[in-house]
Amino acid sequence: MSENMNDGAKASLARLADSHGLRRLFELDREAFEAAVASAAALSGRTERPQQLEIEMAHVCRFPNRAREA
Protein backbone atom coordinates (compact mmCIF):
# COMPACT_ATOMS: atom_id res chain seq x y z
CA MET A 1 0.00 0.00 0.00
CA SER A 2 1.29 3.49 -0.80
CA GLU A 3 3.56 4.83 1.93
CA ASN A 4 1.93 8.27 1.80
CA MET A 5 -1.59 6.88 2.25
CA ASN A 6 -3.12 8.10 5.50
CA ASP A 7 -4.87 5.89 8.02
CA GLY A 8 -8.29 7.03 6.86
CA ALA A 9 -7.60 6.01 3.30
CA LYS A 10 -6.23 2.67 4.43
CA ALA A 11 -9.34 2.04 6.48
CA SER A 12 -11.47 3.03 3.52
CA LEU A 13 -9.74 0.44 1.34
CA ALA A 14 -10.22 -2.19 4.02
CA ARG A 15 -13.94 -1.41 4.17
CA LEU A 16 -14.12 -1.66 0.39
CA ALA A 17 -12.47 -5.07 0.58
CA ASP A 18 -14.98 -6.19 3.18
CA SER A 19 -17.92 -4.95 1.14
CA HIS A 20 -16.70 -7.02 -1.82
CA GLY A 21 -15.95 -10.11 0.23
CA LEU A 22 -12.27 -9.66 -0.61
CA ARG A 23 -10.73 -9.25 2.84
CA ARG A 24 -8.55 -12.33 2.39
CA LEU A 25 -7.20 -11.06 -0.91
CA PHE A 26 -6.71 -7.57 0.56
CA GLU A 27 -4.59 -8.98 3.37
CA LEU A 28 -2.62 -11.04 0.85
CA ASP A 29 -1.66 -8.19 -1.46
CA ARG A 30 -2.66 -4.70 -0.33
CA GLU A 31 -0.65 -2.94 -3.01
CA ALA A 32 -2.35 -4.91 -5.76
CA PHE A 33 -5.71 -4.13 -4.21
CA GLU A 34 -5.00 -0.40 -4.18
CA ALA A 35 -3.66 -0.55 -7.75
CA ALA A 36 -6.75 -2.43 -8.94
CA VAL A 37 -9.09 0.19 -7.46
CA ALA A 38 -7.12 2.94 -9.21
CA SER A 39 -6.96 1.01 -12.47
CA ALA A 40 -10.71 0.42 -12.50
CA ALA A 41 -11.40 4.08 -11.75
CA ALA A 42 -9.12 5.16 -14.59
CA LEU A 43 -10.74 2.75 -17.02
CA SER A 44 -14.20 3.84 -15.93
CA GLY A 45 -13.18 7.45 -16.47
CA ARG A 46 -12.07 6.68 -20.03
CA THR A 47 -15.26 4.80 -20.88
CA GLU A 48 -17.46 6.82 -23.17
CA ARG A 49 -21.01 7.55 -22.00
CA PRO A 50 -23.19 7.69 -25.14
CA GLN A 51 -25.86 10.35 -24.85
CA GLN A 52 -28.14 9.04 -27.58
CA LEU A 53 -30.70 6.87 -25.86
CA GLU A 54 -31.32 4.74 -28.94
CA ILE A 55 -27.86 3.19 -28.76
CA GLU A 56 -28.48 -0.20 -27.18
CA MET A 57 -26.06 -2.77 -25.90
CA ALA A 58 -24.42 -4.82 -28.61
CA HIS A 59 -25.95 -8.18 -27.79
CA VAL A 60 -23.43 -10.68 -29.06
CA CYS A 61 -26.07 -12.95 -30.49
CA ARG A 62 -26.98 -10.23 -32.97
CA PHE A 63 -23.81 -10.77 -34.98
CA PRO A 64 -25.39 -13.38 -37.23
CA ASN A 65 -28.57 -11.38 -37.59
CA ARG A 66 -26.66 -8.35 -38.77
CA ALA A 67 -24.64 -10.44 -41.19
CA ARG A 68 -27.86 -11.73 -42.74
CA GLU A 69 -29.26 -8.22 -43.06
CA ALA A 70 -26.06 -7.09 -44.80
Binding site: L16, H20, G21, L22, R24, L25, L28, D29, A32, F33, A35, A36, V37, S39, A40, A41, L43, S44, R46, T47, E48, R49, P50, I55, E56, M57, A58, H59, V60, C61, F63, P64, R66, A67, R68, A70
Partner: protein, 473 residues
Protein backbone atom coordinates in the same frame (compact mmCIF):
# COMPACT_ATOMS: atom_id res chain seq x y z
CA UNK B 1 12.06 -37.49 -37.76
CA UNK B 2 11.84 -33.89 -39.01
CA UNK B 3 10.05 -35.05 -42.13
CA UNK B 4 7.07 -36.34 -40.12
CA UNK B 5 7.37 -33.58 -37.52
CA UNK B 6 6.82 -30.85 -40.07
CA UNK B 7 4.57 -32.78 -42.44
CA UNK B 8 1.38 -30.90 -43.24
CA UNK B 9 -1.51 -32.78 -41.69
CA UNK B 10 -3.50 -32.30 -44.88
CA UNK B 11 -0.76 -34.21 -46.69
CA UNK B 12 -0.49 -36.70 -43.82
CA UNK B 13 -4.24 -37.41 -44.01
CA UNK B 14 -3.90 -37.96 -47.77
CA UNK B 15 -1.02 -40.41 -47.24
CA UNK B 16 -2.93 -42.20 -44.49
CA UNK B 17 -5.93 -42.66 -46.78
CA UNK B 18 -3.61 -43.93 -49.51
CA UNK B 19 -2.03 -46.34 -46.99
CA UNK B 20 1.35 -44.66 -47.54
CA UNK B 21 1.56 -43.59 -43.90
CA UNK B 22 0.44 -45.55 -40.86
CA UNK B 23 -1.39 -43.61 -38.13
CA UNK B 24 0.60 -45.67 -35.64
CA UNK B 25 3.94 -44.69 -37.19
CA UNK B 26 2.87 -41.02 -37.32
CA UNK B 27 1.65 -40.98 -33.72
CA UNK B 28 4.72 -42.80 -32.42
CA UNK B 29 7.02 -40.36 -34.22
CA UNK B 30 5.32 -37.33 -32.67
CA UNK B 31 5.21 -38.90 -29.20
CA UNK B 32 8.95 -39.56 -29.48
CA UNK B 33 9.53 -35.96 -30.49
CA UNK B 34 7.44 -34.75 -27.55
CA UNK B 35 9.52 -36.97 -25.29
CA UNK B 36 12.69 -35.34 -26.63
CA UNK B 37 11.66 -31.69 -26.70
CA UNK B 38 8.82 -31.14 -24.26
CA UNK B 39 11.11 -31.16 -21.20
CA UNK B 40 12.76 -27.98 -22.51
CA UNK B 41 9.61 -26.39 -23.97
CA UNK B 42 6.91 -27.29 -21.41
CA UNK B 43 4.26 -27.09 -24.11
CA UNK B 44 2.28 -30.14 -22.93
CA UNK B 45 0.73 -30.28 -19.47
CA UNK B 46 -0.81 -33.73 -19.85
CA UNK B 47 0.13 -36.39 -22.37
CA UNK B 48 -2.36 -39.05 -23.44
CA UNK B 49 0.21 -41.33 -25.07
CA UNK B 50 -1.43 -44.64 -24.25
CA UNK B 51 -4.86 -43.55 -25.48
CA UNK B 52 -3.27 -41.98 -28.55
CA UNK B 53 -1.49 -45.17 -29.53
CA UNK B 54 -4.68 -47.13 -28.98
CA UNK B 55 -6.55 -44.60 -31.13
CA UNK B 56 -3.89 -44.81 -33.83
CA UNK B 57 -4.21 -48.58 -33.97
CA UNK B 58 -7.99 -48.30 -34.16
CA UNK B 59 -7.56 -45.78 -37.00
CA UNK B 60 -5.25 -48.19 -38.81
CA UNK B 61 -7.76 -51.01 -38.36
CA UNK B 62 -10.52 -48.82 -39.81
CA UNK B 63 -8.44 -48.15 -42.90
CA UNK B 64 -7.71 -51.85 -43.30
CA UNK B 65 -11.43 -52.60 -42.97
CA UNK B 66 -12.32 -50.04 -45.65
CA UNK B 67 -14.46 -47.95 -43.31
CA UNK B 68 -15.49 -44.35 -44.09
CA UNK B 69 -12.80 -41.95 -42.94
CA UNK B 70 -13.08 -38.41 -41.57
CA UNK B 71 -10.96 -35.53 -42.88
CA UNK B 72 -8.42 -35.88 -40.04
CA UNK B 73 -8.42 -39.66 -39.85
CA UNK B 74 -5.30 -40.75 -37.98
CA UNK B 75 -3.99 -37.19 -37.55
CA UNK B 76 -2.74 -36.20 -34.09
CA UNK B 77 -3.93 -32.98 -32.44
CA UNK B 78 -3.76 -31.29 -29.03
CA UNK B 79 -5.95 -28.93 -27.02
CA UNK B 80 -5.31 -25.95 -24.81
CA UNK B 81 -6.01 -27.07 -21.28
CA UNK B 82 -9.18 -25.07 -20.86
CA UNK B 83 -11.01 -27.29 -23.37
CA UNK B 84 -12.81 -30.33 -21.99
CA UNK B 85 -12.09 -33.93 -22.91
CA UNK B 86 -14.27 -36.44 -21.08
CA UNK B 87 -12.34 -38.18 -18.32
CA UNK B 88 -9.25 -35.98 -18.57
CA UNK B 89 -8.17 -33.09 -16.35
CA UNK B 90 -9.04 -29.56 -17.41
CA UNK B 91 -6.81 -27.52 -15.12
CA UNK B 92 -6.69 -24.15 -16.89
CA UNK B 93 -3.04 -24.34 -15.74
CA UNK B 94 -4.25 -23.37 -12.27
CA UNK B 95 -4.07 -24.74 -8.76
CA UNK B 96 -7.73 -23.76 -8.48
CA UNK B 97 -8.72 -26.54 -10.89
CA UNK B 98 -5.84 -28.94 -10.24
CA UNK B 99 -8.30 -31.75 -9.45
CA UNK B 100 -10.94 -30.91 -12.06
CA UNK B 101 -11.83 -33.77 -14.40
CA UNK B 102 -14.11 -33.09 -17.37
CA UNK B 103 -17.39 -35.01 -17.40
CA UNK B 104 -18.00 -34.67 -21.13
CA UNK B 105 -16.33 -33.52 -24.30
CA UNK B 106 -16.39 -29.93 -25.44
CA UNK B 107 -18.16 -29.36 -28.74
CA UNK B 108 -14.85 -28.93 -30.56
CA UNK B 109 -13.53 -32.15 -29.01
CA UNK B 110 -16.57 -33.96 -30.39
CA UNK B 111 -15.80 -32.46 -33.81
CA UNK B 112 -12.21 -33.74 -33.70
CA UNK B 113 -13.38 -37.22 -32.76
CA UNK B 114 -15.91 -37.23 -35.58
CA UNK B 115 -13.14 -36.19 -37.99
CA UNK B 116 -11.04 -39.16 -36.90
CA UNK B 117 -8.27 -37.16 -35.20
CA UNK B 118 -6.14 -38.53 -32.35
CA UNK B 119 -5.60 -36.54 -29.15
CA UNK B 120 -1.96 -36.38 -27.98
CA UNK B 121 -2.64 -34.32 -24.87
CA UNK B 122 -3.52 -31.03 -23.22
CA UNK B 123 -1.41 -27.92 -23.68
CA UNK B 124 -0.01 -25.27 -21.41
CA UNK B 125 -1.88 -21.98 -21.12
CA UNK B 126 -1.61 -18.82 -19.15
CA UNK B 127 -3.65 -19.36 -16.01
CA UNK B 128 -7.35 -19.31 -16.94
CA UNK B 129 -6.28 -17.97 -20.35
CA UNK B 130 -5.45 -14.64 -18.73
CA UNK B 131 -2.45 -14.32 -16.43
CA UNK B 132 1.03 -15.24 -17.47
CA UNK B 133 3.68 -16.22 -18.06
CA UNK B 134 3.80 -17.16 -14.38
CA UNK B 135 6.42 -19.02 -12.39
CA UNK B 136 4.31 -19.49 -9.25
CA UNK B 137 1.91 -22.12 -10.61
CA UNK B 138 1.96 -25.93 -10.30
CA UNK B 139 3.40 -26.18 -13.84
CA UNK B 140 6.01 -24.03 -15.60
CA UNK B 141 5.11 -21.77 -18.54
CA UNK B 142 5.74 -22.89 -22.11
CA UNK B 143 8.85 -21.66 -23.92
CA UNK B 144 9.40 -20.37 -27.43
CA UNK B 145 10.96 -23.08 -29.66
CA UNK B 146 12.78 -20.47 -31.75
CA UNK B 147 14.75 -19.55 -28.65
CA UNK B 148 13.67 -21.10 -25.39
CA UNK B 149 14.78 -18.03 -23.44
CA UNK B 150 11.94 -16.20 -25.15
CA UNK B 151 8.25 -15.67 -24.46
CA UNK B 152 6.09 -17.82 -26.77
CA UNK B 153 3.11 -15.47 -26.48
CA UNK B 154 -0.11 -16.35 -24.79
CA UNK B 155 -2.43 -17.23 -23.47
CA UNK B 156 -2.44 -20.24 -25.82
CA UNK B 157 1.29 -20.55 -25.24
CA UNK B 158 1.58 -24.34 -25.29
CA UNK B 159 -0.46 -24.50 -28.49
CA UNK B 160 1.88 -22.05 -30.22
CA UNK B 161 5.05 -23.72 -28.96
CA UNK B 162 3.93 -27.29 -29.71
CA UNK B 163 2.82 -26.57 -33.26
CA UNK B 164 5.88 -24.49 -34.12
CA UNK B 165 8.20 -27.15 -32.68
CA UNK B 166 6.65 -29.92 -34.75
CA UNK B 167 5.31 -31.74 -31.69
CA UNK B 168 1.81 -31.76 -33.15
CA UNK B 169 0.47 -30.45 -36.47
CA UNK B 170 -2.82 -29.03 -35.20
CA UNK B 171 -3.88 -27.41 -31.96
CA UNK B 172 -6.66 -25.23 -30.66
CA UNK B 173 -6.25 -22.07 -28.68
CA UNK B 174 -8.72 -19.55 -27.35
CA UNK B 175 -8.75 -15.82 -27.98
CA UNK B 176 -10.41 -13.17 -25.80
CA UNK B 177 -8.01 -10.29 -26.39
CA UNK B 178 -5.64 -11.96 -28.84
CA UNK B 179 -4.66 -15.24 -27.20
CA UNK B 180 -4.60 -17.31 -30.39
CA UNK B 181 -2.94 -14.63 -32.51
CA UNK B 182 -0.31 -13.64 -29.94
CA UNK B 183 1.36 -17.06 -29.63
CA UNK B 184 0.88 -17.58 -33.37
CA UNK B 185 2.81 -14.34 -33.92
CA UNK B 186 5.54 -15.12 -31.40
CA UNK B 187 6.02 -18.71 -32.60
CA UNK B 188 5.76 -18.09 -36.34
CA UNK B 189 2.60 -20.04 -37.11
CA UNK B 190 -0.90 -19.29 -38.41
CA UNK B 191 -3.57 -18.45 -35.83
CA UNK B 192 -7.16 -17.72 -36.80
CA UNK B 193 -9.74 -16.04 -34.60
CA UNK B 194 -12.85 -16.64 -36.66
CA UNK B 195 -15.98 -14.50 -36.43
CA UNK B 196 -17.63 -14.46 -33.02
CA UNK B 197 -20.11 -17.33 -33.02
CA UNK B 198 -18.40 -19.30 -35.79
CA UNK B 199 -16.99 -21.94 -33.40
CA UNK B 200 -18.94 -23.22 -30.40
CA UNK B 201 -17.40 -22.55 -26.98
CA UNK B 202 -19.43 -25.23 -25.19
CA UNK B 203 -17.19 -27.15 -22.82
CA UNK B 204 -14.50 -24.47 -22.69
CA UNK B 205 -13.73 -22.60 -19.47
CA UNK B 206 -14.85 -19.02 -20.08
CA UNK B 207 -12.81 -15.90 -19.55
CA UNK B 208 -15.24 -13.36 -21.01
CA UNK B 209 -18.46 -14.72 -22.46
CA UNK B 210 -18.98 -12.11 -25.14
CA UNK B 211 -15.32 -11.87 -26.22
CA UNK B 212 -14.21 -15.53 -26.13
CA UNK B 213 -13.37 -17.29 -29.37
CA UNK B 214 -11.78 -20.66 -30.14
CA UNK B 215 -9.25 -20.73 -32.93
CA UNK B 216 -7.14 -23.15 -34.98
CA UNK B 217 -3.34 -22.94 -34.75
CA UNK B 218 -1.25 -24.59 -37.45
CA UNK B 219 2.00 -24.16 -39.35
CA UNK B 220 0.36 -23.49 -42.72
CA UNK B 221 -2.67 -21.66 -44.03
CA UNK B 222 -4.02 -24.77 -45.73
CA UNK B 223 -3.94 -26.73 -42.48
CA UNK B 224 -5.60 -23.84 -40.66
CA UNK B 225 -8.44 -23.78 -43.17
CA UNK B 226 -8.81 -27.55 -42.96
CA UNK B 227 -8.98 -27.32 -39.19
CA UNK B 228 -11.59 -24.56 -39.25
CA UNK B 229 -13.61 -26.77 -41.60
CA UNK B 230 -13.65 -29.36 -38.81
CA UNK B 231 -14.60 -27.13 -35.89
CA UNK B 232 -16.83 -24.41 -37.43
CA UNK B 233 -20.60 -24.59 -37.36
CA UNK B 234 -23.74 -24.04 -35.35
CA UNK B 235 -24.20 -25.52 -31.90
CA UNK B 236 -27.60 -24.98 -30.31
CA UNK B 237 -26.05 -25.48 -26.89
CA UNK B 238 -23.80 -22.39 -27.14
CA UNK B 239 -26.00 -19.27 -26.84
CA UNK B 240 -23.40 -17.29 -28.79
CA UNK B 241 -23.19 -19.77 -31.66
CA UNK B 242 -24.10 -18.42 -35.09
CA UNK B 243 -26.43 -20.35 -37.37
CA UNK B 244 -24.61 -19.33 -40.52
CA UNK B 245 -23.56 -21.48 -43.49
CA UNK B 246 -19.94 -22.68 -43.35
CA UNK B 247 -18.12 -22.74 -46.69
CA UNK B 248 -15.32 -25.15 -47.52
CA UNK B 249 -12.35 -23.00 -46.51
CA UNK B 250 -9.95 -25.14 -48.52
CA UNK B 251 -11.57 -23.78 -51.68
CA UNK B 252 -10.45 -20.30 -50.64
CA UNK B 253 -6.91 -21.53 -49.98
CA UNK B 254 -6.69 -23.15 -53.38
CA UNK B 255 -8.06 -19.98 -54.96
CA UNK B 256 -5.31 -17.98 -53.27
CA UNK B 257 -2.67 -20.46 -54.38
CA UNK B 258 -3.94 -20.60 -57.92
CA UNK B 259 -4.94 -17.08 -58.89
CA UNK B 260 -3.60 -13.57 -58.45
CA UNK B 261 -5.08 -11.07 -56.01
CA UNK B 262 -5.83 -8.67 -58.85
CA UNK B 263 -8.54 -6.24 -57.86
CA UNK B 264 -8.54 -7.22 -54.19
CA UNK B 265 -8.69 -4.12 -52.01
CA UNK B 266 -6.44 -4.12 -48.96
CA UNK B 267 -6.92 -1.39 -46.35
CA UNK B 268 -3.92 -0.76 -44.10
CA UNK B 269 -4.57 0.59 -40.59
CA UNK B 270 -1.11 2.11 -40.17
CA UNK B 271 -2.03 4.52 -37.40
CA UNK B 272 -2.51 1.57 -35.03
CA UNK B 273 1.25 0.86 -35.17
CA UNK B 274 2.75 4.18 -36.26
CA UNK B 275 0.80 6.81 -34.31
CA UNK B 276 -1.39 5.23 -31.63
CA UNK B 277 1.57 3.03 -30.77
CA UNK B 278 5.01 2.88 -32.30
CA UNK B 279 5.87 -0.65 -33.34
CA UNK B 280 9.39 -2.04 -33.23
CA UNK B 281 11.11 -1.10 -36.54
CA UNK B 282 11.39 -4.77 -37.52
CA UNK B 283 7.63 -5.25 -37.10
CA UNK B 284 6.88 -2.12 -39.11
CA UNK B 285 9.32 -3.15 -41.84
CA UNK B 286 7.84 -6.65 -41.91
CA UNK B 287 4.35 -5.30 -42.50
CA UNK B 288 5.57 -3.00 -45.27
CA UNK B 289 7.35 -5.92 -46.90
CA UNK B 290 4.17 -8.01 -46.68
CA UNK B 291 2.18 -5.20 -48.29
CA UNK B 292 4.75 -5.13 -51.06
CA UNK B 293 4.21 -8.85 -51.63
CA UNK B 294 0.43 -8.41 -51.70
CA UNK B 295 0.77 -5.53 -54.15
CA UNK B 296 3.02 -7.70 -56.29
CA UNK B 297 0.27 -10.31 -56.33
CA UNK B 298 -2.14 -7.73 -57.72
CA UNK B 299 -3.83 -6.34 -54.61
CA UNK B 300 -4.67 -2.65 -54.39
CA UNK B 301 -3.21 -1.21 -51.18
CA UNK B 302 -4.83 1.80 -49.55
CA UNK B 303 -4.24 3.38 -46.16
CA UNK B 304 -7.39 3.64 -44.03
CA UNK B 305 -8.10 5.24 -40.68
CA UNK B 306 -10.46 4.47 -37.85
CA UNK B 307 -10.77 5.27 -34.16
CA UNK B 308 -7.55 5.24 -32.10
CA UNK B 309 -6.26 1.86 -31.01
CA UNK B 310 -6.43 2.86 -27.34
CA UNK B 311 -10.20 3.41 -27.57
CA UNK B 312 -10.70 -0.07 -28.97
CA UNK B 313 -8.42 -1.54 -26.30
CA UNK B 314 -10.26 0.18 -23.47
CA UNK B 315 -13.56 -0.93 -24.97
CA UNK B 316 -12.37 -4.53 -24.94
CA UNK B 317 -10.91 -4.22 -21.45
CA UNK B 318 -13.98 -2.91 -19.67
CA UNK B 319 -16.03 -5.84 -20.98
CA UNK B 320 -13.31 -8.45 -20.43
CA UNK B 321 -12.64 -7.38 -16.84
CA UNK B 322 -16.34 -7.19 -15.95
CA UNK B 323 -17.21 -10.58 -17.39
CA UNK B 324 -13.96 -12.15 -16.22
CA UNK B 325 -14.48 -11.05 -12.65
CA UNK B 326 -18.02 -12.44 -12.73
CA UNK B 327 -16.48 -15.81 -13.60
CA UNK B 328 -13.82 -15.63 -10.89
CA UNK B 329 -15.51 -13.70 -8.07
CA UNK B 330 -16.14 -16.70 -5.83
CA UNK B 331 -12.57 -18.00 -6.09
CA UNK B 332 -11.09 -14.52 -5.70
CA UNK B 333 -13.03 -14.24 -2.44
CA UNK B 334 -12.29 -17.69 -1.07
CA UNK B 335 -9.04 -18.89 -2.66
CA UNK B 336 -7.03 -15.84 -3.70
CA UNK B 337 -3.79 -17.50 -2.61
CA UNK B 338 -4.31 -20.27 -5.17
CA UNK B 339 -3.97 -17.92 -8.13
CA UNK B 340 -0.64 -16.81 -9.52
CA UNK B 341 0.11 -13.31 -8.33
CA UNK B 342 -0.08 -11.93 -11.88
CA UNK B 343 -3.46 -13.52 -12.62
CA UNK B 344 -4.90 -12.17 -9.39
CA UNK B 345 -3.62 -8.70 -10.15
CA UNK B 346 -5.00 -8.76 -13.68
CA UNK B 347 -8.46 -9.98 -12.66
CA UNK B 348 -8.94 -7.73 -9.65
CA UNK B 349 -9.83 -4.40 -11.35
CA UNK B 350 -12.99 -6.13 -12.57
CA UNK B 351 -14.23 -6.11 -8.98
CA UNK B 352 -14.37 -2.32 -8.98
CA UNK B 353 -15.95 -1.60 -12.33
CA UNK B 354 -19.61 -0.70 -11.94
CA UNK B 355 -22.64 -2.12 -13.68
CA UNK B 356 -22.96 1.17 -15.56
CA UNK B 357 -19.38 0.83 -16.85
CA UNK B 358 -20.14 -2.61 -18.23
CA UNK B 359 -23.40 -1.52 -19.85
CA UNK B 360 -21.74 1.52 -21.40
CA UNK B 361 -18.99 -0.76 -22.65
CA UNK B 362 -21.55 -2.94 -24.39
CA UNK B 363 -23.30 0.13 -25.82
CA UNK B 364 -20.00 1.50 -27.13
CA UNK B 365 -19.28 -1.83 -28.73
CA UNK B 366 -21.92 -1.11 -31.37
CA UNK B 367 -19.97 1.95 -32.49
CA UNK B 368 -16.64 0.12 -32.63
CA UNK B 369 -18.12 -2.68 -34.68
CA UNK B 370 -19.73 -0.21 -37.07
CA UNK B 371 -16.42 1.61 -37.45
CA UNK B 372 -14.70 -1.57 -38.65
CA UNK B 373 -17.69 -2.45 -40.86
CA UNK B 374 -17.31 0.95 -42.53
CA UNK B 375 -13.67 0.24 -43.36
CA UNK B 376 -14.71 -3.07 -44.86
CA UNK B 377 -17.26 -1.41 -47.13
CA UNK B 378 -14.33 -0.10 -49.17
CA UNK B 379 -11.73 -2.78 -48.44
CA UNK B 380 -12.00 -6.54 -48.87
CA UNK B 381 -9.51 -7.14 -46.08
CA UNK B 382 -7.63 -5.00 -43.58
CA UNK B 383 -3.97 -5.31 -42.61
CA UNK B 384 -2.43 -4.14 -39.38
CA UNK B 385 0.11 -5.24 -36.78
CA UNK B 386 -0.46 -8.19 -34.50
CA UNK B 387 2.22 -7.76 -31.81
CA UNK B 388 4.10 -4.46 -31.74
CA UNK B 389 7.33 -6.22 -30.81
CA UNK B 390 9.27 -9.38 -31.69
CA UNK B 391 9.54 -12.05 -28.96
CA UNK B 392 11.36 -11.01 -25.80
CA UNK B 393 12.87 -12.73 -22.76
CA UNK B 394 10.21 -14.69 -20.87
CA UNK B 395 11.66 -13.80 -17.48
CA UNK B 396 11.81 -10.06 -18.22
CA UNK B 397 8.86 -8.96 -16.09
CA UNK B 398 8.92 -5.40 -17.44
CA UNK B 399 8.82 -6.61 -21.04
CA UNK B 400 5.96 -8.96 -20.21
CA UNK B 401 3.96 -6.15 -18.60
CA UNK B 402 4.72 -3.88 -21.54
CA UNK B 403 3.64 -6.40 -24.17
CA UNK B 404 0.02 -6.78 -23.09
CA UNK B 405 -1.18 -3.40 -24.30
CA UNK B 406 1.30 -3.32 -27.20
CA UNK B 407 -0.85 -5.21 -29.67
CA UNK B 408 -3.65 -4.56 -32.17
CA UNK B 409 -5.63 -7.77 -31.70
CA UNK B 410 -8.16 -6.86 -29.03
CA UNK B 411 -10.17 -4.54 -31.34
CA UNK B 412 -11.42 -7.55 -33.27
CA UNK B 413 -12.52 -9.46 -30.19
CA UNK B 414 -14.56 -6.39 -29.35
CA UNK B 415 -16.12 -6.20 -32.81
CA UNK B 416 -16.27 -9.93 -33.56
CA UNK B 417 -14.60 -9.61 -36.97
CA UNK B 418 -12.46 -12.55 -38.12
CA UNK B 419 -8.72 -11.94 -37.85
CA UNK B 420 -5.77 -14.16 -38.63
CA UNK B 421 -2.13 -13.81 -37.61
CA UNK B 422 0.13 -14.71 -40.51
CA UNK B 423 3.89 -15.42 -40.28
CA UNK B 424 5.67 -12.48 -41.90
CA UNK B 425 9.38 -13.09 -41.87
CA UNK B 426 12.06 -13.05 -39.19
CA UNK B 427 13.85 -10.61 -36.95
CA UNK B 428 17.55 -11.36 -36.84
CA UNK B 429 19.54 -9.37 -34.33
CA UNK B 430 23.34 -9.74 -34.46
CA UNK B 431 24.44 -13.12 -33.21
CA UNK B 432 21.01 -14.07 -31.90
CA UNK B 433 18.65 -16.78 -33.18
CA UNK B 434 16.07 -15.65 -35.73
CA UNK B 435 12.69 -14.78 -34.22
CA UNK B 436 9.35 -14.76 -36.03
CA UNK B 437 7.51 -11.67 -37.18
CA UNK B 438 3.83 -11.55 -38.00
CA UNK B 439 0.98 -9.37 -39.19
CA UNK B 440 -2.81 -9.52 -39.09
CA UNK B 441 -5.45 -9.79 -41.77
CA UNK B 442 -8.99 -8.80 -40.78
CA UNK B 443 -12.16 -9.51 -42.74
CA UNK B 444 -15.90 -9.01 -42.80
CA UNK B 445 -18.09 -10.93 -40.40
CA UNK B 446 -18.28 -14.59 -41.47
CA UNK B 447 -15.83 -14.04 -44.34
CA UNK B 448 -12.90 -16.06 -43.06
CA UNK B 449 -12.62 -17.43 -46.61
CA UNK B 450 -11.20 -14.20 -48.02
CA UNK B 451 -8.62 -14.11 -45.22
CA UNK B 452 -7.52 -17.62 -46.11
CA UNK B 453 -7.36 -16.71 -49.79
CA UNK B 454 -5.07 -13.75 -49.13
CA UNK B 455 -2.97 -15.54 -46.51
CA UNK B 456 -2.47 -18.54 -48.81
CA UNK B 457 -1.37 -16.33 -51.69
CA UNK B 458 1.08 -14.50 -49.43
CA UNK B 459 2.41 -17.71 -47.88
CA UNK B 460 3.02 -19.24 -51.28
CA UNK B 461 4.82 -16.14 -52.49
CA UNK B 462 7.16 -15.91 -49.52
CA UNK B 463 7.99 -19.47 -48.54
CA UNK B 464 8.37 -18.62 -44.85
CA UNK B 465 6.86 -21.98 -43.95
CA UNK B 466 10.00 -23.79 -45.07
CA UNK B 467 11.87 -22.47 -42.05
CA UNK B 468 11.61 -24.21 -38.66
CA UNK B 469 12.87 -23.60 -35.12
CA UNK B 470 16.48 -24.72 -34.59
CA UNK B 471 15.55 -27.73 -32.43
CA UNK B 472 17.08 -30.34 -34.70
CA UNK B 473 20.32 -28.52 -35.47
Amino acid sequence: MSELAYLSFVEAARRIRAKDLSPVEYTEALLARIDTHNPSLDAFLHLTAEQALHGAQTAADAIAAGQALGPMHGVPFALKDIIDVEGLPTTAHSQILADNVARQDAHVTERFRAAGAILLGKLSTHEFAFGGPCFDLPWPPARNPWDRRMFPGGSSSGSGAAVAAGLVPAALGTDTGGSVRNPASMCGIVGMKATYGRVSRRGVIPLSYSLDHIGPMTRTVEENAALLNVIAGFDAHDPGSANEPVPNYLDAVHLGQGESLKGLRVGVIRHFYREDMIAHPAVDAGIEAALGVLAGLGAEIEEVTTRPLGEFSDGNRVILLSEGYAVHERWMQTRPQDYAEMTRQKLLPGAFLRAADYVQGLRNRTGFSTAVDQLLEHSDVLVTASSMDPPFLIDDAEAVARCYPRQARAPFNLTGHPAVAVPGGYYEADGEPALPLSFQLIGRHFDEATLYRVAAAYEQATGWIERHPPLDD
